[in-house]
């Protein structure tokens, strides 16, 4: 029997749990998504945002909304580590502990993908004429969508490793996630940041969210005006590897497991 048997059974278990609340969660996510798209995509155009800004915004929103789902998972995991410790049952199963942590990141990425994939048709409906399907490079979009969500999954794993408890989590949103999101090109492109000041542009490059946004927009709206697609892919895979490796080390120490 190998670790993979347990690995896939654990993912299957998580998906069973995920589907039970899927529609409730999707309605919550959709409300936030629609609110954001209407406010930023339409009302902002009344304030002078360029034509096509709605499509620009929608793609960024689709790219990042799975993250909302995953950060919730960090909270659940931290609560578990401080309470029931169901993870301890997993850690005595015939599976290596590093595989347990890699499964967690992957499982979170899958649920993030499932949560945000339905935002594509919803986004298209909201900005119907502004987002042309002919602009989409489908294989690039699939590649970047999967890569972005894997990054969210393993970034959340890393957060679980660095946060001590639930109190820290409440600070996480305000201190880290919100700035990372807002300065990660959620409402503007990297080129706009660079045009404002090259220093701001270069500093932005340390934020992985910029690669998520730019990569998704390059795939869904066309390469023009965004960071090169392959730079975004390579940088995100670098961040995925780093978060997975460091998150694994930290969780191993934190849970004192073999």
């Amino acid at each position: 029997m190998s670790s993979w048997t347990v690995f896939f059974q654990l993912i299957r278990r998580d998906l069973t749990v995920f589907w039970r609340d899927f529609w409730k969660k999707f309605i919550d996510t959709s409300i936030l998504f629609i609110t954001n798209v209407l406010a930023f995509g339409y009302f902002l155009q009344q304030e002078g945002a360029h034509e096509g800004y709605a499509a620009f915004f929608v793609v960024g929103a689709i790219a990042s909304f799975g993250f909302v789902e995953i950060v919730g998972k960090v909270g659940i995991q931290l609560a578990d580590m401080g309470g029931d410790r169901t993870i301890f049952h997993t850690l005595v199963m015939p599976i290596r502990s590093k595989m347990v942590f890699y499964y967690m990141g992957l499982s979170w990425a899958i649920t993030s993908i499932l949560m945000s994939i339905l935002l594509f048709p919803l986004g298209k409906l909201l900005v119907f004429t502004e987002w042309h399907l002919t602009d989409i490079s489908w294989w690039r979009l699939v590649m970047m969508f999967v890569t972005a969500n894997l990054f969210f999954g393993y970034f959340s794993l890393w957060l679980t490793g660095i946060l001590k408890n639930m109190t820290d989590l409440s600070r996480l949103w305000l201190r880290y996630i919100a700035p990372m999101w807002m300065f990660g090109g959620y409402v503007y492109s990297w080129q706009s940041a660079y045009d404002l000041s090259p220093v701001v542009g270069y500093i932005s490059l340390i934020n992985p969210m910029i690669y998520v946004m730019e990569g998704m927009r390059a795939a869904a709206l066309g390469q023009g005006g965004y960071l090169p697609f392959w730079v975004s892919v390579v940088m995100l895979w670098g961040f995925i590897a780093l978060c997975a490796w460091d998150g694994n080390q930290r969780l191993k120490r934190k849970l004192d497991c073999i």
């Binding site: 278990r13 005595v92 015939p94 073999i258």
Partner: protein
């Protein structure tokens, strides 16, 4: 002749806070565990019982020392060793979003049972542990006694050769305790090796083939209940234990 199942040699466990030693929970514990025996681990709170069983369940690593199974380190045979061990922890660590029945099946499948086998085993254990009417309930809907029964049932899903029960009867009323005693006695009848930590001396005396008394992170006594009573000229294990605890200078032992 007794057949060796597990050998624990000079196992220590030190908890650190950075580089500072927080606690030395185990100080060179050595013991042998034989096939089919029930080993009762006794000790006051903080003696190191739970630390030791969590190491034997491979939840936590020891700081030093060796544990061997089938003549090799359990860490070299980690996945094989884990697949023959069933661990029932002190606190219920049960997935809340799944029913008890689903929890059992998931656990079984993680240990390599097919869907059909896991379902069949679930029903078998549900009957044995009187959990049938709670299979659709989740953890919050059952009493402490049933949670404990469930934890033992879950530990047995994959038919382990070694079952580690960490204070399985703590906080339960005497009626349910007695029922669980029957379950542990059944495990023994089935030839399963059991490590049982408990605070209840009557329980340890009744169920254990051998008693291992841990105090201050070291094994102070390990023998059969009968030998201990005879050796210390006491009528029951409780008196032996009290004599030990009262005796500040344990060199008498």
């Amino acid at each position: 002749m007794k057949k060796l199942f597990l050998r624990v040699e000079k196992v220590t466990k030190i908890y650190f806070d950075g580089s500072r030693i927080l606690k030395e929970a185990l100080k060179g514990v050595s013991l042998d565990l034989y096939h089919g025996e029930v080993l009762g681990l006794l000790g006051v709170n903080g003696a190191g019982k739970t630390t030791l069983v969590s190491i034997l369940a491979t939840l936590h690593p020891p700081t030093a020392g060796e544990i061997s199974w089938q003549g090799r380190s359990i860490y070299d045979l980690l996945l094989s060793y884990r697949s023959v061990v069933g661990y029932c922890p002190q606190h219920p660590n049960i997935e809340r979003h799944l029913s008890l029945g689903e929890n059992l099946v998931v656990s079984g499948r993680c240990y390599g049972l097919s869907k059909h086998e896991a379902e069949a085993r679930k029903m078998e254990l549900a009957k044995e542990f009187k959990l049938e009417e709670y299979l659709e309930s989740n953890i919050d809907q059952v009493s402490g006694g049933y949670k404990q029964r469930f934890l033992i049932a879950r530990a047995l899903m994959h038919r382990p050769q070694l079952v580690i029960l960490d204070e399985p009867t703590v906080g339960l009323d005497s009626h349910i305790r007695r029922e669980l005693w029957g379950v542990i006695a059944q495990l023994k009848e089935q030839g399963i090796t059991v490590i049982l930590t408990t605070h209840y001396l009557d329980e340890a005396e009744k169920l254990s083939d051998r008693i291992c008394l841990i105090h201050g992170g070291t094994v102070r006594i390990i023998d059969t209940p009968e030998n201990l009573k005879k050796q210390h000229q006491k009528n029951n294990l409780e008196e032996v234990f009290l004599k030990f605890v009262d005796d500040q200078d344990s060199r008498n032992f």
